[in-house]
Structures are given as C-alpha cells and as structure tokens.
Symmetry: D2
Subunit: 424 residues, 4 copies
C-alpha cells in the first residue's frame, strides 16, 4: 500500500469542482449531531465547573486531583452507552463512519466545551493516533494499542517536535533509531509531547530518523514506543504561556537507548512522512473546527460583557469601534466556518492527499484569526479578560499554540502559494 | 403588497440553518454556465481590445467613439440569439429565472471581463431597475420602460446619492417631490448617477422625499423620471480617481421644477425604502460576485508578473513576502466566494429581507479585501501597475468605489453588529 | 494647591512647538546613564539566572524562595552605595532630579532586564506612589511612608481597579469611604493590586468614593491604607495568562469596614482625580519606555534565532517575510522610541497636564505594537517561543496587560481624538 | 572624488548616537520658515484655485492652458525676489545652505500646497538634478544646465525606470550607451519620466549601461541628454490611476541612436550608482516630508468633514471607529514626522551614505501609512472623497506612486532588515 505518492509535487486545487461546494450536513448525521448536543448539555456542561474547581491536578506527583477522573470517566461511560463514541474515523467500519464534513459540524460544537471532546473519546492526539493505527497498523498493533484506545481505556501521545531543530521542516527530525538485532534503539530528544504526563497515557507514536542515507523524503519512520520503556526519561513539562497543564502536560522527553521490538515500526522503514499525511489532514481539520467553536464562545463572551457593563454613560459595546469589532468577528467566523467545511468536504470527495491545499488554507487562516477574535474579547473584558475568571486567556494560549503546531502558519502559506503558482 | 415589513428590526441570522450550506450550482444551471463561458470566449474577449483601443468616447459631445457601440451591440445580439439574456431575475418568468445562487457563479465569471455583463443585458444599474419594475411596476410602467430594457434597446440610471447630505443614512435624502395637480414637481440635486451620460440612457428611477411629515421610514418615494424631461440639468461628470468614464459617466444632475405625471411613482407614496430592499439585496450580491472575479484576475496578473520578472537573481514571486501574499489572496478569495454564495443561497431560501444580514456581511467584507488584493498586484507590477498598461488601477478605482456605494462598509458593519447583539 | 484645573477640557497639542523636538539626552545625564549600564552589567545580569532558578516563590505561604530576596537586596545595596537610586523624581531635590527625558533613556535600558528597575529602587508602583507622596503628602505622611520607600525598606501598592465596574471610566470607582468620627471607614472590592502579595508591601494608596453627591469629577479621593489594617482581606491572586506571579502577585482584595485615621487622606476630599494626574503621566511614560526595552530584546531574540536555525536549506530569517518582519520591527521601535522621548520632553517643557495628549499618544501606541513584535518573535521561535525557555511568553503577557492598565488603549485614543477635534 | 565607497556593505545604524536625537529646528532657520509660510499664504494659496480651474493643460498639443504659467511664474518671481529660493542644497554656498533637518520642516509645509514647492524652485526632480550637477558636474555642465535650473528658467527630468525590467533592482537597467568616436550613442526605452512633457523641460539625466563587462556595481553611468536631441522619441504619457498629468506628464520615451557628446557623462564611466547615492538620500527625505504635509491635510479634511455632516442623528466623526481613526492618524503622523526629522538629522551628522538605513526606514514607513490615512479620509467623505471635488483621490494616487518610486517599499525593507542582521 502506498498511502502517499509524490509528496512534494504541489497539488493544483481545482477551484471550480462543483462537488466541493455542497457543504450541508447530511440528513443521516443530523440525529447524531442532536444527540451530541444533548449529551453535552446533560452530561458535560454540568460537571465542568466542578471538574475545574478540583484544580489542575497535583504537580508534585503529576496525578489527577481526587475525584476529577471519576467525573470525566462518568461522562465517557454515558456517551459510550449511548453510542456517541469514536465518530471521527471517516468511512471506517469502526465507530460511526462519519464523513469529515459531518464530523466538522460536531467538532465546532465540541470546541465550545473543554471536556466535550474527551467525553466522546474524540480528543487529540488519540484521534490521529487511532486513525493511523486503523489505516496502517498490523493486526497485532491494532489488538495491543488500537483496541484499548477505541475503548477509552488508555490514552496516547505523538512524539514529533524536537527542541534542537526547526521542526517546521519535518526533514530536520534528528532523533535516531537504529536496528540492533531485533530491536530499534532510539536516541534523541523530543518536546511538547502533549498528554504524555497523563497517568493514563501508555503509548507514543514517535517520529524518528531510521535511514539517514535515503533521499530526504524517505529517511523518517514512525515507531510505537510504550511510555514505560526503559530509557524514556520525562524531563518535565513545557509551559504554554505559563501553564504547565498538569497532569496531562506537554512533556519534554529524552530517549536514551530506548529499545523496542523491530515490529513496533508502523508501515515500514522510511515511510514516516507517508503516515504523516494520513494523520495530519484530519487532525488539522478537527483542530480548526474546534477553533471555530472557540471563536464563537469568545464572540459570545464579548457581546455579553459589552452589553452589561457601562462606561461614559453607555454600554461598552456602543463605544468606539466595538460594534464593528463584533461585526468583523461574526463575518470572519462565518467565512472560516465555510472554509473548514469545504476542506472537510474536499477530503471526503478528493481524498486526503488531493485535498491538501484546502487543509493548508484553513490551517493558515483559522488559528491566526481566532487568536485576534479572542484578543478582542479580552480587551473588552479589561483585566478580567486575562484572569482566571474567564476562559479567554487559556483559549488564547491554546489558539496561539496552534499557529505553531502541525506546521506553523508560514509552512501552510508556502504550500498554498506554491499550489497557486503551479496553476499557471 | 407589502414587500418590506418593519425595516429596522434587526434580522437575527439563524447561523445553523442547514439548508443554507448547500452551495453547489444546480445541475440545471451548468449548461447555461458553460454557454456563458463559451460566449465570453468567442464573442466578448475578441472584441475587448478593439473596443478599448477605440478610446473612451468623446468628452466634448459626450458620445461613443465611432464603432464602439457597433461592437458591443454585436456581442449583445449574439447573446440574445443564443438565449443568454436577462438571467438575473430570480424565480421570474421573464428571462431564465435563475436562482441567486446559480447566478452568483456566473457573475463571478462576468467580473473578469469588463464587457461581459453588458453583452448579456445583465449590467448595473439596469438589472436592479428591471428587477424593481418587474416586481412593483404597473402594467403601463412595464410596457413603457421594462420592455425596452429587457430588450436591451435602452439603458437606465438610478438617482439616489446626493452631494449635500450623508447618503449613508438614506433618511437624509433631501430631493423634494411635491404633488401639483396631476404632476410630481421635483427639485434637488443628485450626483454619481452612473450611466446617465450614455446617449442610450432614457429613464432614471429617482429617490425623492415626498412626505416630510411621515415617520422617517416613510418619507421617501421612488419616481420614474425620463432623462429628457425639462428641468433635468446634467451639470457634468463626477470623476473616480481621475476617470470621468465618458461616455457613460457618473453624472451630477440638478432637478429644477422637473414635472412628471403622478402615475410615474413606483408602488406608492412613502414606499421608497420598501423598494430599496427589493433592489439592493441582489444588486449587492451581483457586485460582490463580480468583485471576486476581479480579485481572481488580479491574483492571476500578480502570479504571472511575479513569475516572469527577475530582481536580485530571482523571480519576483520568490522574493520576501510575495509568495505568502499570493497564498493569503487565494485563501481570502475562496473565503469570500463561499460567503457570497451563502448570501445568495440565503436570499433564495429565506427571501431578500431575512437574508439581509448575510448580504451585509459580504458587502462589508468583499470590496475592502478585494481592494487590498488588487493593491498587492499593483505593488508587484511596479510602476506598470498604476499605469494604463494593466487594468489594475481601473479595477482598484472600481472596487474602492464599491466600498462607498450601496451603503458604505460602516453601515453594513452596523447592520451585522446589531444583528449579533439581537441574538443575545 | 490645585494640581489639576479643568480635567476634561481637551488639551490642544501645539504640534509645532519647536522646544519639544530636542530629544537628545542631556550631557549631565550621560555619566549616570553609563553608570546604570555598568551596574546592570556587573550587579544585575549576573544574579538574574540564579534568582529565577530559585523559582517563583512559595504559593502556599506566599513568601519568597529562600535566598531570592538576599540576591535582590544585595544588588539594591550596591546601587544605593553608588548613588544609583531614586532617579525617577523629575526636578525633585530628592534623588537625582532627572528630567523625564533623561530618565526615559535609562528606563529603556531597564526594560531589557526584569530585575534592573527594582535594583535601583525605581519599580512600579513604588515610583508613582513616591511621586504622589512627595508632591502632595503631608510632612507626617512623608515621614511615615515616603522615607522608608525612598530607602527601599518597604514596598507599596496602588489599589484602583475594581472587578465590578468598568474602571476604564474612573468615575465608576465604587469602593466607598465614609467618615465616622475621626476615621474613614472603607468598604468595597479591588483587584489586580500588583505587588500586594509581596511580604515587604506595607502600604496601599487606595482610590475610593468619598463624596457621591459631588459632581462626577470630585467624588473620588485617595487614602493611605496600611495593608495590615483589620478588614483588609486578601482573597487571592489574579492571574495573568496563567501566571500568579507569586510571591508579589496581583491581589484580589476585599475591604470590609476598614478603618484608617481621617488624616490618611491625600490632598483632601474629592481630589482623587487630581492626584491621578500627578501619578499617571510619568507612570505611563516609564512603562512605555521599558516596553521599548522589551521590544528591543524581542527583536534581538528574533534575529538571533532566525540566524542560527535552518529549515528548507536556509536560515529561518531568510525565509518568506521574516526579514521584512525584522525591518518593520526596527522601524516601529525607532518610531516609538522617538514618540516616548517626545512625550517625556513635553512633560518637562509643558508640565504633566499640558503634555497629557502626548502621553496618551504613546500609551495608545506602544504596548499594542510591542505586543505584535513579541508575538512575531514567538512565531520565529516555534514552540520554544511560548515556553519557559525564553522570556517571550512572559513578556507578551506583561505587554498585553499594559494595553488594559492605566487606561485601556481605547480611552487614550479617545483623549487623542478629542484633542484633535478641538484643534478645529 | 569617490562619493560612494562600498555600496552594498550594509550600514549598521548606531542606534544610540546621542547627536542624532536633537531634532529641533535651528534658530537660524526659523525666520526662513516663517517667511516661507508667509509666502505660501500670500502668494501661493491665492493663485491655486485659479490655476487649477484653468484646467489640466491641453492634451492635444501638450501645452499649458493659457494663463497658467503666468500665475506660476508670478509666484516664483515673488519668491525669488524675497530670497526664498533654492534652499534645498544642504551645506552649499549656492542657495541657503540649509541643513537637511531645517529643510525637512519646510518641506512638510510645502506638502500641503501643490504649487508651493515649484514656487520656491524646490520641486522634484529638479532638486535632485541640481544637487547632482552641483556636486559632480564639470564647470561646463554647471554653466550650461545648473545655472538656468537654479534660475528657474528651465526644468529637467530624470530618466531611470524602464518598462522591460524590474527596476527595483537597479542593476537591471538595460538602456545601452556606447561610445562611437566622441559621442555616446544611446538606445533603449524609459518610462515614467516625470515632467518630461513640460514644454519648459530641456534636459534629462539618463541612467544607462555603458560597461556591461564590469562588475554589476560599475556597469551603469549617468549621461546628460538634452530633450530635443534627435532620436529622443516621446511615445506618450504614462497614466497614474487614470491621470496623465498633462502638460507635465510621466513620459514614455524611446531612445533611438541618440547621440550626445562624450563629455555629457557625469563623473565618469561606471559611476552611475555612485551618483544615485548623492541624489536619492535627500530626494527620498524631501518626498517623505512632503508626504507628512499631505497626511496633515488629509487628517484636516477628515476632521472637518466628520464634524460637519450628520448621519443617524450624530456627526459622522462620533460614529463607530471614526474618532479612533483620527487618533491613530495623529499618532502615526507624529511618529513619522519624528522619523523623517531623524533621518534628515542623520544625513547632516553622518553623511548621506552612513545615514542610508535611516532614509530607508522612512521611505518604507511613510508613503505606505500616508496612503492609509488618505484612504480613511476618502471613506469619511463618501463618494465626494474619490471625486474631483476634494484633492484626496489625487493625493492618494501620488502617495501610492511613491511606494513604487525611488525603490519600492520591499527594497527599503530589505536594506533595513539586512542592516539589523549585521548588528549581530
């Protein structure tokens, strides 16, 4: 199986493909969408305040605060029983087999509630990892790791970014894996491994350099590394604007002579980039659609605050440029929503590879603008906007991070720009 | 018939209406779309250079250059014979009865060729005027003015904007019409009456104040004024960034005791704003969709120039931020295209009034961004970009004008902002 | 003494006043500037890493980490012995009597090193508090509070902002002080009281409403409240993008029947706004000048990172728009620097009140743009930019906060805009 | 004499040079400044309306409208008699020997009145041409061309830009001059030769390639070409956003075997770039300072219009973001003014070459922002803003052109960015 053919040839988007513009949710998905809304309202929203009041988890032993996991697992069980589970796998027999387009509608709603995605077993990076395992895993790999992930029994991480090289160019990845007998021996350093601090996290998909003498596209591989393998040293959490996000964390990890069996490689030696194509398209779309939910929430908070506070004898919203700021936010949210739906649709119609330009368009467009909208919501809240009393500062940090993750904005603009040149 | 109910109550857009997101062109429209493309290629493109080489028309006697009209009327005849004619009237028995959505696809193509719209009898302000006459005209009014307009035998103008008041607030319109016996007697001043200099222009729909004592929404009326009525004094053309656009022009007109029969009023006294709702929704959508065609053309020129000129040892397009500029232009064009399609679709599904917020969104969004894209195309062309050797400077002037016409950006942001507040 | 006359009459800036454009540092200040640079290099830079490695202070008992204060006080002692102390008081006999202009040059350097200001006893909010006490304090107030502040023995806070009203309009301040016998009895709630968690902080200048029946400009007063007064309840720290900045903190404080002697009022009843004019001008200038130091540091980090990392076969700085980003940052830093120097100069030449428009110009201009520059530096660092491995995320949070503190951007634009209107 | 040493080595700006920040006008210049203001008020302002009412000059025979030149020459004579003449030559014995800094103050005022510069014999491109002739001309060249230029008897042009190459990279200049006996024989094509249509224009300084085999920096030369030399074919005017600016024009010129004597070369073969350094620094500063005058005028018109028109029951200026727009314009104008003054001062203190980075900073900063300010003034004027009834559309076209002339923005950002890198 060759998931990906010529990676670097720019895809020329067919701008006039009429099939790509039917962006309506399918009739089949509507009941599921409604059920998810109901689940969020009944099972997620009510536990959220309590969950966050319990604190951030213990930093000293990096564990959940007592009672937190129980709340979360309770919501998961309810969702699982109702069959609201694993619907991120497009066209798969596992889960609901939703199209990317239908899932995108749901993801936008998930983006408004921080616990919603996980309650449905649909949170990153598990979704991407499960999609990869499902598409390229061996039966043994699926049995050992995909099954408990699909059951929501364990969590996983994706170890890609490295502190010592510019990972925006994935060819720079330097963590080395060498075959020694029947084992891969891994040495190197990764950071921002999100979720690797969670005590439930058991497995990491790790991008490594196996074949330094191959052509640049074929030097990398992806290998399954159980997190308790000797030599995996978690050096500590990386912060995001001051947050360490305990107890999940974004861990800084050193690999010192980490040995895993030969068969832990995914798909085969030198096919690391090929696998990336599988995971990154959907992952980016999910992120962007959740970002739109976040922008909706920020706009909602902006309007509420602006309509209930007064200064200089008027509601804040009536002062200066505030109403135009609201208008621009609404316009941009609608434009972004349609673009994400179109990228999802393109993946459904054209396949992940041919849809690549559409995905890069939304990845370059959405987090940058959502950051601005949240920033404007902060401004209208005054000091409260940057405090722990609103979710805005945390939301900002999250969206700001997205402009760097899964390829920084600049790389996606490069993809889109080159595709445009290739049309001429 | 009450076309418009409570004008000022903000329309709360139902952001989740699933019907609004099917933005695909209908299958029925595809052959027409293809036929229009073919017509442009075969009948319009070949005459354009010649048409513009013949010059700008004579300014001294405000007439067409010899041979110009023949070229244009030739293309019109070919289109008419092929039935490519008047397809802007949505749901009407006249013309093709295209939906707004289907028409939007065609309009984007028309925006790339300055003569294309008129060759199909689909150019502003005739389209809006015909739509108004068709919807609210009496049988006599239709016979006298709509028929020759539909036949492409005459052209028309729309006299709304006034030099002495801020027309962004339509309630400011001050040109006065008073009943005197069986006549309306009109006095006042209008400017930027586009097309009123064209020798083929025979009729103006004129916004006047008939009922100063009514509530502000019901003071205005619209009256048909034949352009050769005594007292209609064309003072001269208004320029647009230095262009007078002879021989069509954007005329400055004084009304001095202009008498027209009582029955020249449209729909009835005090219903001027109600009629505006009929004309402005579609008009704005047509403009915006043509703007997207213009942006496509600018991006096309930008890429071509950037790929064929060198400086500092590289193609211009490879220098500095130029490739990212191309990427951002492509992303914004696609986002705008989807937004215009959605606004068109909203008009089809919800009606012009309920779709008002969607129309304001695109009117506030599109011309502003298209101006920026054209400006970036100018920059990459160097001095040639502002010259008569590319269409860019003329295109810029046109888009810049759109940010002021049919409601300046600020008014549309106000509509969108208020609708957002009303959702809370 | 009437420090402030008609507060709300907009000051018309004399744009052509030739005296305002001599922005050179005075010859007298140059040796002091050099001595400060030397002090930073020799006494501050070497202790900084150690200081921050010791951690953030204990959150449980809200105290400094062992050894931290010793480091800081050591640097303070060295500065004090060298006479590098308290030079923020313009034209005063206390301290060095530097002009605002000369001090601005020094402040820009202080902005590059987080511990530098405090090592010279020149950090906010002590500077503003000392300036107020020096200008309007009674001999007793000066003896009790100004003296130990000038000696660097205690620290202080400024309690202005309230969580329940939009403090951007200072007239909204609602914390109530009522005379009861010889005491003021204070009730209300304040938040973001920076530094109030520091165990060295002993005194708060508190803005309260004393005279609800006076005209809006004269309802507020400022009162000295020792932090250990019964009824002062510190509810906890407010966060800034997730940081609680222990052990100094930005505290949330409730005033419950807090009693202080009548003579703790500053200047007199109803003169709270008048005092604000004294403190805010210089305070804003100091902040903005330090912001320019921060922008310099961000640009420095941006260039260093961009020149030492590679992607796609080039240094990052040579990719895409990065070099233009560097250029724009440099241009904007220089423009901001000149504007801050001019505002400082205007305060020296015209006095704080007449210079108000110049101060508002820089307050509205500087933090917004410095945020953008830091954000661009973050982007070029990738994930490291938002981590604890560079100071960028912390710097961003600080500058973002400044856009809300001492009047949000919007209020300063209002001041500048109105002044412009008044010129016509 | 070697005016320019190593052209391409980036100049590292000494950001802390204290001498550069004294930006006050010298006392000696103040009376001259006042006299110029008086001259503009008494001699220029009164003739301007009449001058422009006389029209744009005849396009058919490319001559001035009857009476126009008389008005202009009358104002020139008055200025000359009062000694208000030729003060652009810094440090020269000719003219007033003003420093660049003092001249910059005057130029800002000239920028508000379209006829002011020429009335003082201080208009481009004559100023640059005279500066070049004065610095590098032979006695014969000075006698023949500098003298009548200094006397205001003739006008001149500068032929640099070419239609067939990207002139942003000056090394691309392709017009060829070859020695044939005692003559240079010139062949090639130039465009946007401003002023070459003016019947008073007698001489062109022409950039040509004389030495194709030299290293790229030394292939070009500058040669004096009398405009009536056989073979100089004026093909017609280039437009600027539709304006042909008759009768001065920006001409498109073909050089067909144009023969001029060997001694018409300036400075010597291969020294074309060296001469450019002489002319471009001051020229750019003059342009930018006049741009600031233009921005002042736009802001003035914006405030006036906004304060005298009503919509929705308020003055336009009180609606939405308009007041903030005014504030931002004022802040940016002041920031730009200081930057231009600093660049002028840098030229005085450091010399043109060492000040190069400062000049590039203002060239990259000023026209871009002034365009935006004028654009905002247009928006608040509605349709009148783009018409011939305000100077705004013409001003916009002029500033937009400046973003392309004398090096496009991008080239100046490259210079500034590289200088920044070189500081590390």
């Amino acid at each position: 199986m060759n998931v990906m053919a010529k990676r670097d040839a720019p895809v020329r988007p067919d701008l006039n493909n009429p099939e790509l513009n039917n962006l309506a949710m399918s009739k089949e998905a509507q009941p599921l969408f409604d059920a998810v809304m109901k689940h969020i309202e009944e099972n997620v929203a009510p536990i959220s305040d309590k969950f966050f009041e319990l604190g951030e988890g213990r930093k000293d032993n990096w564990s959940w605060a007592p009672g937190q996991l129980e709340l979360l697992e309770g919501a998961k069980n309810k969702a699982k029983k109702s069959g609201l589970w694993n619907f991120f796998l497009p066209g798969s027999e596992i889960g609901r087999g939703l199209t990317n387009l239908d899932y995108a509608y749901i993801a936008a709603e998930l983006g408004k509630q921080p616990l919603a995605s996980e309650s449905l077993n649909c949170s990153a990076p598990d979704t991407g990892n499960m999609e990869v395992l499902e598409k390229v895993g061996t039966p043994e790999q699926k049995e050992k790791w995909l099954k408990p992930l699909l059951n929501g029994e364990i969590r996983s991480a994706y170890a890609m970014t490295e502190p010592n090289v510019a990972s925006s160019d994935a060819k720079n990845v330097a963590t080395r894996a060498e075959l020694d007998g029947d084992d891969w021996v891994i040495n190197g350093e990764k950071y921002y491994i999100s979720g690797a601090g969670d005590p439930r996290c058991k497995i990491m998909i790790t991008m490594v350099k196996t074949s330094p003498d191959a052509s640049p596209q074929f030097q990398q591989s992806q290998i399954l590394v159980p997190i308790d393998t000797p030599g995996v040293k978690i050096l500590g959490p990386m912060c995001v604007f001051g947050h360490d996000h305990a107890p999940r964390g974004h861990m800084h990890i050193k690999f010192e002579n980490v040995r895993v069996p030969k068969e832990n490689i995914l798909l085969g030696e030198g096919r690391g980039f090929e696998i990336s194509q599988v995971r990154l398209g959907p992952g980016r779309i999910h992120h962007c659609m959740r970002s739109i939910g976040a922008a909706e929430k920020a706009l909602d908070l902006m309007v509420k605050r602006g309509s209930t506070r007064q200064a200089f004898g008027k509601n804040l919203i009536a002062l200066g440029k505030n109403l135009e700021t609201v208008s621009r936010a609404r316009i941009e949210i609608e434009a972004m929503r349609l673009m994400v739906l179109k990228a999802a649709r393109a993946m459904d119609v054209l396949g992940n590879r041919e849809a690549r330009v559409w995905v890069s368009m939304v990845k370059a467009m959405v987090p940058e603008r959502v950051c601005q909208i949240i920033d404007q919501a902060i401004q209208i809240h005054g000091a409260t906007g940057i405090s722990q009393w609103t979710p805005l500062a945390e939301m900002y940090a999250q969206q700001r991070t997205l402009r760097l993750a899964d390829g920084p904005d600049e790389v996606h603009h490069m993809v889109v720009g080159r595709a445009e040149l290739s049309r001429h």
